[in-house]
Symmetry: none
Subunit: 136 residues, 4 copies
């Protein structure tokens, strides 16, 4: 049976991989990893990355764990007229555009999540995915 | 004359009925019941239910009692261009999509409300309705 | 190996046992149980219990899990001149007087916590302990 | 002239040194580093460290930078009757017991701060100091 909560070692591996991808893309990112309980486990802000993304990266990571899906999936449903319109007002503020992705163990259980913010949502999501991939 | 405030016994009956319906639908739900004063009375999170729904279930229950109507009805009015656009900013955050329903006594007085979150809004609402029906 | 997170069934057993003790003591209590991640799992407010204790019971449960010790132990250190003076300003508000107790599994791992509020801190703590004892 | 803001590389060096010291002391710590603007730069929670210290470590780091002195120095002034009594109510919550220390560059300019939480304040402070020392 795989462990059901992410370790700091895993979280730091994900942050490191995300940084490598961010450099590759020529971006400056804030990167946050939360555990299975949605509590902050590791965080890094690259030099010169947006200050406003300190909070967004963390909210993306928490949002991904809160609903066990990529943040962008929540955002598709939270548009005006959508079934989850304005869900962002819950939980002290959610971020529902791409850049937050759940992290699973080998058994497919969600053990945490990563959130990335600092560039376009496409870049944010690609950097987050690199973090996830580093653990599989 | 019927009592004007829900009892814990009634609230726990509603939570139990909601859990039964959630299992029947194959969903994992957070279920909250508030009293006539919109204060939390009973709550249950099924094992593995979304963590982000802890707050949403409670906000749905409060929203339903704050305005004495199902949360989805508020949501119809809070869309862009609607008469209550962005009402979700009030009261520390509202949730205005389906899943919150007022609870009435035999005289039609509202004595509390139930809020359910953890699946589609259709499932959320059906589970909430099962809670309401258990008391009638 | 014992499970590392409390189940809803366990949480409801603890709430039920706490209610029995509260009745025995002639008190009206708010009772909250959080899981290993400090997220709300079960809650009950006895009819007529203090409304202000809805929040306090939850904060006691979270505080006990946040620091893996009974809330009263934190309170001994947070007095004026104490080593943790004004720690209550963290985490969106802590409650550091008795009534919150961690819950362990058979292996001694902390899997959640219970918080009780509604009477004297002695009674609150006794009711919380009854909840803990029901799971051992 | 030395740089006037801490880099992520420096922040991660400090976190790493703090972790080494924490292990040496047999403690489990949350470690946060903020930059000259008091914004989070790096963070790590050791496996099993107190969840409540996620916030406290960050608040200690910010408090140290907000007032450019060790947090414990602020705490001496914030006691009942002291000149800064209850200053903890400002800035969304301060932590004023030991464990937060400013970080200076070679010219003596403050370029950030470190905050550590998870054990006694003496241990917290020793671990924070190890982080500071790793950069000098």
């Amino acid at each position: 049976m795989s462990a059901t909560n992410i370790t700091l070692e895993q979280a730091e591996t994900a942050v490191k991989a995300a940084k490598v991808k961010a450099v590759e893309l020529g971006t400056l990112m804030n990167i946050a990893v939360v555990d299975a309980g949605a509590n902050l486990t590791a965080f890094a802000r690259m030099d010169g990355a947006w200050l406003g993304s300190v909070d967004i990266a963390q909210k993306k990571a928490r949002t991904a764990r809160y609903f066990d899906m990529p943040t962008g999936e929540v955002g598709k449903l939270s548009q005006p007229g959508g079934s989850l319109f304005n869900i962002e007002h819950s939980n002290g503020g959610l971020i529902t555009f791409p850049g937050g992705i759940p992290i699973e163990n080998a058994d497919g259980q969600i053990i945490g999540a990563i959130g990335v913010s600092g560039s376009t949502v496409e870049n944010d999501n690609e950097v987050a995915q690199a973090g996830v991939d580093s653990l599989s």
